[in-house]
Chain length 337, copies 2
DNA sequence: GGCGTTCAAGTAATCGATTACTTGGATGGC
DNA sequence: GCCATCCAAGTAATCGATTACTTGAACGCC
């Protein structure tokens, strides 16, 4: 393999000069620069990253730790992060935690061992409690999940507001008994629950909530049980895309008519939400923007470690579809059918 | 930071012994091993990966290069690859090419610079032509895309057979004019086209095919145009999940009844295919298994560079749903409605 | 008992860059 | 004209491991 001393020899300069040229250091003469670049091109020289990283103590690598890349939200986030990283000539290392604290810990250890330049993390609920960015040996940006009092760079949705808007929309459609299925073990689930509760209270309605594991299969089972109960609620809301999917599957399996018998709505706009009849009302998250902002926030933090902490809060967009259509006369379900 | 000499000092042994213990080398005495491990634990020592990689010339990192992680097929593959890598204590570096040859080239260059242990690649059509694994400075496994005559490790679906099965199923449902929407610029699209053509020929039917870009939006537009034509085909088949999505959207927008007016079927089982009424018939790919096999094949190749090339061909599973229901009397569409 | 073999353990070279420090020529102020 | 300053460019130390090579003790065999 050709290495820096070969380039130096061919260009008739010292290895230091080659290194300086390649690093874009300003104090290097025009003729030397040209000769180095010529030699680099002629030899097809590519610096050895391991050597560079050992000496310079920087890796130009960012880590992304999410619960599960198969969750379309994280898929899109990861794509955005990769785009930014690629653009800035940085590498991306990916890890899945499955919400398992042990695995999360081990992913963070991996990032430390890799000496990454920074990490974007969707923390588990447990880790978020008492979270301090200073406990970590690398710059860290939280994504998707963050408590109001967490002192750390973060990019999140305005979950409370989004849930409030969604719930209010359904209430204004004439629904009264509105059930909220939320991810019990997730920070976003809790915040969205809060928005839901606030909206219900504002209209003098009593909340009914059920916590579920944030996986489609589990929420489907839970929804099946709920739908088998004697009296159906007017509407069911889901606090995440996966839960909404499970809910929708359960309704379809049970043969319930939406929105005739029960209205539904939830979070995360996905291909199927507009495909399934009569379309599912959702809060669409700006997922790509969330990932991009997180990556850019991280890069700023890396280049400027002492800047004050920044939190980017993005707004969801209510996408109204048939599944939450108003009941006739806005008086309640009795009028329906 | 604590480093190997600190451990050696504390354990009262040489750095070589520490290195040997940590590498699991057999020829090291029991008491030394114990003292080293104690010192490692006491100091919380973690080896510096950059230094290790520089000296040992191995990175224990595998690269995954796909068209777009947002394609659910690749999402699932990447998750499987990550699982295997994590299990074997290897890192995963991820790249998206967007089917752009220049970006693909640059991803491969990145992998070379990283000196990865191996790469899993979903190659563009252009790269696949005349592909030789020996042109690359790292072990390489192709995934999803591979020609019959390509000499390289690969994990693929039996595309021809799968398309034949799917097409035959629709033919046996009584459909005659069956249109095939295929990804024109992809190897899988072409192979599936081949299976379709074979099945049509076997039943004395003439094929009708339209090539589209393998993106949901584009195939939706194409489908819209096709559906606006005076005479509707009996059925439309899609050669990939994204194309099937676009097709389904177009049908819904146009208000066409499935399978009453036209039957549909395609590739890739996704959440929405069983959610949308009356369910979409598909060839389900064993995506997780494809990713896992690719990762394991790569690890074998890494540990045994001279083994003969291996190709793993997995079978798709026909999942029959309402969208391809047989026409009454199996005589053709005239009987319908 | 002498000698060859084996093997545990240590010493020091090595991986290939970056960068602290040194050198020396040019420049400018007085 | 002398000296201080500056800066381009070179020399060599350095990053922190792995590993080739060396050493010497232990063992067995004749």
């Amino acid at each position: 393999m050709t290495q820096i001393r070969d380039v130096a020899a061919r260009a008739g300069v010292s290895v230091a000069s080659v290194s300086r040229v390649l690093a874009g250091h300003p104090s290097v003469g025009e003729d030397i620069r040209r000769r180095v670049l010529d030699a680099v091109k002629a030899l097809g020289y590519r610096p050895d990253l391991a050597a560079r990283r050992l000496r310079s103590r920087r890796t130009d690598t960012i880590g992304l730790i999410v619960a599960d890349i198969r969750n379309p939200f994280f898929t899109e986030v990861s794509r955005a992060v990769e785009d930014v990283a690629y653009q800035r000539r940085m590498r991306l290392i990916l890890c899945n935690t499955d919400e398992d604290p042990a695995r999360e810990e081990s992913c963070l250890a991996l990032m430390r061992d890799e000496n990454v330049s920074g990490v974007i993390l969707a923390p588990s609920l447990r880790r978020l409690a008492g979270f301090r960015a200073t406990d970590y040996p690398f710059p860290l940006v939280l994504v998707d999940r963050c408590d109001p009092d967490t002192v750390a760079d973060a990019v999140v949705l305005d979950n409370i507001e989004a849930a409030r808007v969604l719930t209010t929309h359904v209430i204004e459609g004439g629904r009264r008994r509105i059930l909220f299925l939320h991810g019990a073990s997730s920070a976003t689930g809790r915040q969205r629950l809060e928005g839901y509760t606030a909206a219900m209270a504002a209209h003098g309605l009593s909340p009914e909530t059920v916590g579920v594991a944030p996986v489609a299969d589990r929420s489907r089972e839970v929804a099946q049980v709920l739908l088998a109960r004697p009296s159906l609620p007017d509407a069911v809301l889901a606090s995440s895309g996966l839960i909404l999917l499970g809910l929708t599957q359960a309704l379809r399996d049970a043969g319930r008519r939406v929105p005739g018998e029960v209205a539904i709505a939830g979070f995360d706009d996905q291909p199927w939400t507009r495909l399934v009849e009569p379309g599912v009302t959702v809060i669409a998250q700006p997922t790509y923007a969330i990932g991009r902002e997180a990556a850019e926030l991280l890069l700023h933090r890396i280049s400027d470690p002492d800047k004050p902490v920044r939190r980017v809060v993005l707004r969801g967009e209510l996408v109204v579809r048939g599944s939450s259509a108003a009941v006739a006369g806005m008086l309640g379900r009795a009028d329906q059918r």
